[in-house]
Symmetry: C2
Subunit: 299 residues, 2 copies
């Protein structure tokens, strides 16, 4: 086991995870369940940081990534622009002086597709970690969730990325429209999900989605799907639409960075649509902290 060389925090909106990282990039210890930035009151980020990392040496360098670098966080670290490698993130880093200690903040990334600006914060660090762990210097990376991010990496740089609001749209439709009315919770319905994925991927236009969403109701009304399958059908519809668009111009294998349950869902959907995928190791974000800290000469 190597000596501790770095502290890395993946500090998002709703949760925080802290890592003690060795000189070779290995995770030596982790502290999960820390407060997301929305749970830290009166800007007491320093105290929250101390509470999570108090057991570790105060002489170690520290790298923070995620929404902690947003306007609502500890300090704003302006976005770096795509294409961006680890060096570009280092150039755009912000620093916090905390109790005489310099804490580095990884900037988020911005890009633009067809005139639409897009942004990420925290995912860039996960991607650089997964990339380092894979031994490759390119590929298509998927970080599914409330806001799914799809990023294309070439020659060690994040060339472009796109955000899909899949998870948040699903929750809003399920909880706040008529579509949730007929749904009943049950065991996950694989067939309902698969049907949604295939139908969602086959839709020919944006408007066709506004129409097909209503099938979540009419399939239920007409007993074409069980009430326990409707939620998975709706989820599949959105995930299928997302994947079809995100993979439209590429046949690259997809590297998924996600919790096991969500990763499995997308693995299944990608497989249904004839795409290969691999799963990035847990805690790849810590490898990202280490990779960026090395580029910055911090460890």
């Amino acid at each position: 086991m190597s000596a501790a060389a770095l502290i890395g925090l993946d500090w998002g909106t709703t949760s925080c995870r802290a890592y003690l990282i060795g000189a070779d990039g290995a995770v030596l210890e982790r502290v999960a369940g820390g407060p997301g930035i929305l749970k830290v009151e009166n800007g007491a980020f320093g105290a929250a940081f101390d509470a999570m990392t108090g057991g570790w040496s105060a002489r170690l360098s520290v790298v923070l990534s995620g929404m902690i670098g947003s306007r609502q966080g500890w300090r704003e670290a302006p976005y770096a622009r795509c294409p961006a490698g680890a060096d570009d993130l280092v150039t755009a880093m912000a620093t916090i002086d905390h109790a005489g200690r310099a804490i580095a903040l990884v900037p988020g990334l911005s890009t633009e597709n067809d005139g639409m600006p897009d942004v990420m914060r925290g995912e860039e660090t996960q991607i650089f970690g997964a990339l380092a762990l894979s031994g490759r210097d390119g590929g298509l990376f998927l970080l599914p969730g409330t806001h799914s991010k799809w990023a294309e990496v070439r020659d060690g740089r994040i060339v472009s990325f796109r955000t899909f609001m899949t998870g948040e749209v699903f929750a809003a439709l399920k909880d706040h429209t008529i579509l949730g009315r007929l749904m009943r919770e049950g065991v996950p319905d694989t067939d309902g999900f698969a049907r949604g994925v295939r139908e969602g991927a086959a839709l020919g236009s944006a408007g066709a989605l506004l129409n097909r969403l209503f099938a979540t109701r009419t399939y239920g009304l007409m007993a074409r799907l069980a009430d326990t399958a409707l939620s998975d059908y709706l989820s599949g519809l959105l995930v299928g639409a997302e994947i079809a668009e995100a993979t439209r111009q590429t046949r690259s294998a997809v590297t998924i960075i996600a919790t096991p349950a969500l990763a499995q869902r997308y693995t299944d959907a990608l497989h249904l649509l004839d795409h290969d995928s691999t799963l990035a190791p847990d805690d790849c974000v810590a490898t990202g902290h280490w990779r960026i800290a090395r580029a910055a000469g911090l460890c």
Copy 2:
């Protein structure tokens, strides 16, 4: 002014409107603001009916249309299937015996597109009314709203229709996702709406919508749109996507059946996308009641 010949009620989920109709189909009197079926407690539909129509002769025939004929209404009138003319609606009518008086319930319509069932209740009566008033026997009819309906009519029959969840999706996204966070109410922003309409109509896939929705946030973050324009942009995005899909295979002029404000919004959007439209007269639903009642020999 012709003698009263019929009572027609357009009785939906959230409101009810009653009409006293002459032998020539003209509206002689109207009572607006009646309770929608969700506001009628303990199945007291008869009392609600009496309260709304008590001033009119109890000897007149009565036709009801809308969700009053659903499972949650007074009595269920099973759907007639497309293609359907006024005669087909008459064949499928249900009857309620209320205080010795036979009240006719217009059935809803069902159809199927690409394996997806679709349904309407009440809109069919509005369409037959608008059709009768237009003197034509076909066209494309749009009833925008929470659930927009687009119906194609040929030779006096509703051949097919599709539901788009545009209005309800807009409300869910605005009120229950991050997209509402940066929005500020202001005067309607025509440019923001137009930009949304054009971008929504240009989207190439269902998944592209899940991506482009996020522009409602990034345009705000990057100051590309004023905070007072974001709501109209999002609305336009969805309306544009809906119109592009609904008019994909036709250049027919569109007849809009809607309240003035909503009709204006869709008229503007259709115009931006190079489609002609006309507005059906107010109260065309009463003409629909009259048209169906005549086919049924009720007046």
